[in-house]
């Protein structure tokens, strides 16, 4: 790791203003991606501005059928939230399946969403839940937020304050983990809103990162069943190929995981 200067911000305004003053500054949340890449000397910020101690960025509130999760809420807090579980258990389950306990106690939802790792779990949920990403300047809907591999709509000094979404009527996340990293080789979040519209977010599989599988969405909106997906094709040219899985196999996984998510959301075993 190169030497860096660490700053602990106590407010969003302070954090944004601190970052503006450094040429090579970077925000740090849970650090579960940034610190390992700094150790490998791949990331080399001169200054780190720590967001984890800003009180306004923490906590989960559920009111008037709207869920708000502060950006610095850890995966463990999301996984263990009784309030959230009562309205959106699928997101609790997703958070409980990220990384390992050490990662879940440090990593945050805001950090994960801002990083937009193409194999991260949260972006699939954001897409499927039609979530809004609330920043210190504006509100960005998930469809406009995720811009490809590790790319988002955030400006350099923009800070995610919270994630907001209406809890779905039903939903589930099915992940097929990579045998090595245990990140999603393919993860599919399926959610049905109270108007009956289904949204499907897919992570780990796409060449350009997280995406919505609109073919599945239409089929499931018309007919909420595993069988509804049988004749919907997945575009292989959009799929990632790597040493663990080629595009053909990922096409298969997208459908299989979508079906398993439908089954899980319907209370079936598989």
């Amino acid at each position: 790791m190169y030497s860096i200067t660490y700053h602990r911000a106590s407010s969003v305004e302070e954090a944004a203003s601190l970052l503006t003053s450094f040429e090579e500054g970077k925000f740090i949340a849970g650090g579960q991606t940034l610190i390992p890449t700094m150790k490998l000397r791949i990331a080399a910020p001169s200054h780190l501005v720590d967001l984890r101690h800003i009180e306004t960025l923490k906590g989960i509130t559920v009111e008037k059928s709207m869920v708000t999760i502060g950006a610095m809420t850890t995966h463990a807090e999301v996984a263990g939230s009784v309030e959230l579980h009562s309205v959106c258990p699928s997101l609790c389950a997703l958070a409980g399946g990220i990384g390992d306990p050490a990662v879940r106690y440090m990593g945050t939802i805001g950090g994960s969403v801002a990083n937009n790792d193409p194999a991260a779990d949260y972006p699939a949920a954001m897409m499927a839940l039609g979530a809004s990403i609330v920043t210190n300047r504006r509100t960005i809907v998930a469809d406009d937020f995720f811009k490809g591999l590790f790319e988002t709509a955030l400006d350099d000094t923009e800070i995610i304050a919270a994630i907001r979404f209406k809890p779905p009527v039903r939903g589930a996340y099915a992940k097929f983990p990579s045998p090595a990293s245990r990140f999603a080789m393919t993860g599919v979040f399926v959610a049905q809103a109270d108007d009956g519209i289904v949204r499907v977010g897919v992570t780990g599989a796409g060449l350009s990162g997280v995406f919505r599988q609109t073919g599945f969405e239409q089929a499931l909106t018309n007919d909420w069943s595993q069988a509804a997906l049988d004749n919907v094709s997945v575009d292989e040219s959009m799929m990632l190929s790597d040493i663990h899985a080629n595009a053909t196999y990922r096409v298969n996984l997208v459908k299989v995981m979508a079906k398993r998510a439908v089954a899980a959301a319907s209370g079936m075993r598989k």
């Binding site: 190169y2 097929f176 045998p179 090595a180 990140f183 040493i243 663990h244 053909t248 298969n252 598989k270």
Partner: protein, 780 residues
């Protein structure tokens, strides 16, 4: 005492209290006063000519003490690491080129001299006041490369005329030998009713020890002596290599190894960093410490496996095996460090089966990858995979029952000792016996019910069998120095080195067995060439076998001398003195003297004869060039999710014959570890290189290792048919767990997928590979 803690007792491990509370002493725990740190600049190219190396900018950084290159090394008159690819101890099939040409041995300097031959090969050694300073300076070392055509796959290297690693060789083939009798095999194939064939690549695996390699060296200018601290498989081997490389004498090199956090063969060689640390310490007059980071470990550890095989088995109409024919192609990596995996695998490929004729073409090629070397059970898992897959293929294609086919061909107990068709003499055993125990553990009667239960969860269940043999040999010479100390201690100095196998416990048990003292009274000392000056280290299942013979021999000498002295002290004739439970006694005369008291008398009394006077100590040397042949039979059940190709190991049972188990609990422990390693190899582990030699699996993000949650509880059964080539019946028990696992798991997966009629799935059996195989059959 002896019954509870001698040979055969499952004594709790003495080392565990220390290790569990973090009081172990591993490479990075050592800090020498005034130490500097070293970082290696490694080649980013798989194959490149080194045009120039500019070190000035790096050297100008504050805190940087030296930037060393191969040119400096050669200018100092230092030598390459000695390459000895041929096995040190007979009997193995010969490593001789069929055309009579000599084996090509290139120079292997600790830093690339004019060409880098794999990604990760060292090109410069940066020494400074801290690791971070060294890393920053390393980025400023300017190496100008001219990229050359590279090759990583052994089969591609065989044919390549453009990607050539060694100008003097004219091809990449280092060895092209023959084994067995080609004429007898050809004759048998002509009259065979059935022939089955397997083409497979057993992928490259790495040991991934929990503690990566380390080296630290200090230099004493007064004594002119360099000390290297480096954990591995031995201390004597690196000492000998360093003497040669650095032009030093026996007295000028000391190698010390303390706790070793895993080895599996990965740490058995004299790595470049050993010589570089020692050389830098001598040049700078300061201790130099180097720790391998995990990515460097993936890039530069010596790997294992990587064997391409084409094999055919001939059978008659009754299923009797007639002949086995194969071409075994080993990927040596850039430098030919070891033919051992190739030779030891090939010579045992007929396994426990009576096959009258066999022949093999043994080939080894260089490629632009790190060297390969023996990795736990070197070559045998590959060979057992070939044989056991051929048997299941024969059963499937020719209509035999796979269990009956094995029964029909297993070498009967009465036929031992048995000369296998490659010329190996199996000493003793009960091959049908272990197989039948495994079949019993398999609970075939309950299998249909378990299969139906899996089916109800949408999973295909399969069961796979596999027998194995392997050979334990290794460095032939070992020495134990056993000393009885009057204060109630017995110390044993021996030239082996534990990397977690529990020698501190099992070696005590040997002393308990032969000298009848409490295990608490025993102290095992290893891992320092100033103390254990000779000895062969730990590999090839040799440590327990050699520890038993040497300690027994030394104990016997101590008892002989002690009996004479006891007779004198007790004033009785020698024949009336017997030695039991640590005491020399005469029941008839009701007189006795304790071993430790006797040691005190020997040390202190002046009036006893000169040859009985002095320290009660014996040194025993054993030189053994005969192998013992551990064997066994494993069975496994797997569940396959055909929608995703995911394989889960549901049941695993192992029957392993170790001849005689010194500590059955630690044998079981090693079997567990071996099975885990084998399951990893079967289902997920692979060092992936691009065609041009770029490592695509350089971290645990991409190199999959099995985790506890991937594994079921194992059933282990130890069989003990005494080995006839070891005076105490030991065969060796460290490698059995891993030897058949690849075969057994693959057989189980293909059994689960029987309805798809698949002959072979590319290894490892990742979800991707399994699903592709299913999809290719379903879509026909």
């Amino acid at each position: 005492m002896r019954k509870n803690s001698g040979l055969g007792a499952s004594l709790r491990r003495y080392e565990d209290d220390r290790l569990i509370v973090g009081a172990g002493s591993f490479g990075d725990d050592l800090n020498l006063p005034g130490q500097a740190y070293a970082v290696m600049v490694r080649s980013p190219y798989a194959h490149a000519r080194i045009i120039s190396i500019k070190i000035e900018a790096a050297l100008a950084q504050s805190g940087i003490l030296a930037v060393l290159t191969a040119a400096d090394y050669v200018a100092d008159g230092l030598k390459p690491v000695p390459l000895r690819p041929i096995t040190v101890s007979p009997p193995d099939i010969p490593a001789v080129n069929a055309d009579g040409s000599p084996i090509f041995i290139p120079p292997c300097y600790p830093l690339a001299l004019d060409r880098a031959r794999y990604v990760g090969e060292g090109v410069a050694w940066v020494v400074g006041e801290s690791i971070e300073l060294c890393k920053s300076a390393a980025e400023l070392v300017e190496v100008e490369y001219e990229e050359l055509k590279a090759v990583s796959d052994s089969r591609a290297a065989l044919d390549s005329t453009t990607a050539l690693l060694w100008d003097d060789l004219k091809s990449n083939v280092v060895l092209d030998g023959r084994a067995g009798s080609a004429a007898a095999v050809d004759e048998a194939f002509q009259r065979a009713r059935h022939v089955v064939r397997l083409d497979a690549l057993i992928p490259r695996q790495t040991g991934a020890p929990m503690e990566p390699r380390t080296a630290a060296a200090s230099y004493d200018p007064v004594a002119g002596k360099v000390t290297l601290y480096a954990g591995g498989g031995s201390v004597t081997r690196p000492r000998g290599d360093l003497m040669h490389m650095l032009n030093l004498s026996n007295e000028q090199v000391r190698v010390v190894a303390r706790d070793v956090g895993g080895n599996f063969g990965t740490k058995n060689y004299t790595f470049p960093e050993f010589a570089l640390s020692a050389w830098a310490a001598m040049k700078l007059g300061r201790p130099v410490k180097w720790n391998c980071e995990r990515i460097e470990s993936f890039l530069s550890d010596f790997h294992g496996r990587d064997l391409a095989v084409e094999a055919e088995l001939a059978l008659d109409e009754t299923g009797k095996f007639l002949a086995l024919r194969s071409t075994n192609l080993s990927n040596l990596g850039a430098y030919p460090f070891s033919f051992i995996p190739l030779l030891k695998g090939t010579e045992l490929m007929s396994s426990l089966y009576d096959i009258p004729a066999a022949s093999a073409r043994t080939m080894a090629v260089c490629t632009n990858t790190p060297p390969t070397a023996p990795l736990r059970s070197a070559g045998r898992p590959e060979a057992m995979f070939v044989m056991e897959r051929l048997i299941d293929l024969a059963a499937k294609k020719c209509g035999f029952d796979r269990l009956e086919l094995r029964r029909r061909n297993l070498i009967p107990r009465a036929n031992l000792p048995y000369n296998n068709p490659y010329g190996m003499e199996y000493d003793s055993g009960d091959y049908p016996g272990v197989f039948e125990i495994a079949v019993e553990l398999a609970d075939m009667a309950g299998f249909p019910e378990r299969k139906a239960e899996s089916e109800s969860r949408g999973l295909k269940r399969g069961i796979g069998f596999g027998n194995y043999i392997e050979s334990a040999s290794g460095a032939p010479h070992e020495r134990a120095i056993v000393t009885v100390h009057p204060e109630g201690k017995i110390s044993v100095i021996i030239g082996t080195l534990s990397a977690g196998q529990g020698h501190d416990t099992s070696f005590r048990q040997v002393v308990v067995e032969f000298l009848g003292v409490s295990p608490d009274a025993v102290e095992i000392r290893t891992g320092d060439t100033d103390v254990a000056t000779v000895g062969g280290g730990s590999h090839s299942g040799r440590s327990m076998r050699h520890a038993t013979t040497t300690i027994a021999k030394a104990s016997s000498e101590i008892i002989t001398r002690g009996t004479r002295l006891a007779a004198l002290l007790l004033q009785l004739p020698e024949h009336q003195i017997s030695f039991h439970d640590g005491k020399f006694s005469s029941p008839a005369a009701n007189r006795s003297i304790d071993l430790f008291e006797l040691a005190r008398v020997a040390l202190e009394q002046r009036e006893i004869p000169e040859d009985l006077r002095g320290v009660l100590q014996a040194t025993a040397d054993v030189h053994s060039t005969v192998s013992s042949f551990p064997f066994g039979s494993h069975v496994s059940e797997v569940e396959v999710d055909i929608e995703t190709g995911a394989v889960t190991v549901a049941r695993y049972a192992a029957v392993d014959d170790v001849g005689r188990a010194v500590n059955p609990m630690t044998v079981d422990g090693q079997t567990h570890g071996g099975i885990a390693m084998g399951i990893g190899e079967a289902l997920m582990e692979k060092c992936v290189y691009s065609e041009t030699g770029e490592l695509l699996s350089a971290s645990f993000m991409d190199y999959a290792m099995p985790r506890a949650s991937d594994l079921p509880s194992f059933t282990t059964h130890i069989s003990e048919v005494p080995s006839t080539t070891h005076p105490h019946g030991l065969r060796g028990g460290s490698e059995g767990g891993v030897t058949p696992t690849l075969a057994v798991v693959c057989n189980a997966v293909l059994d689960a997928l029987a309805e798809f009629d698949i002959d072979h799935i590319e290894l490892p059996l990742t979800p991707d590979h399994v699903w592709q195989a299913i999809a290719s059959r379903s879509s026909r």
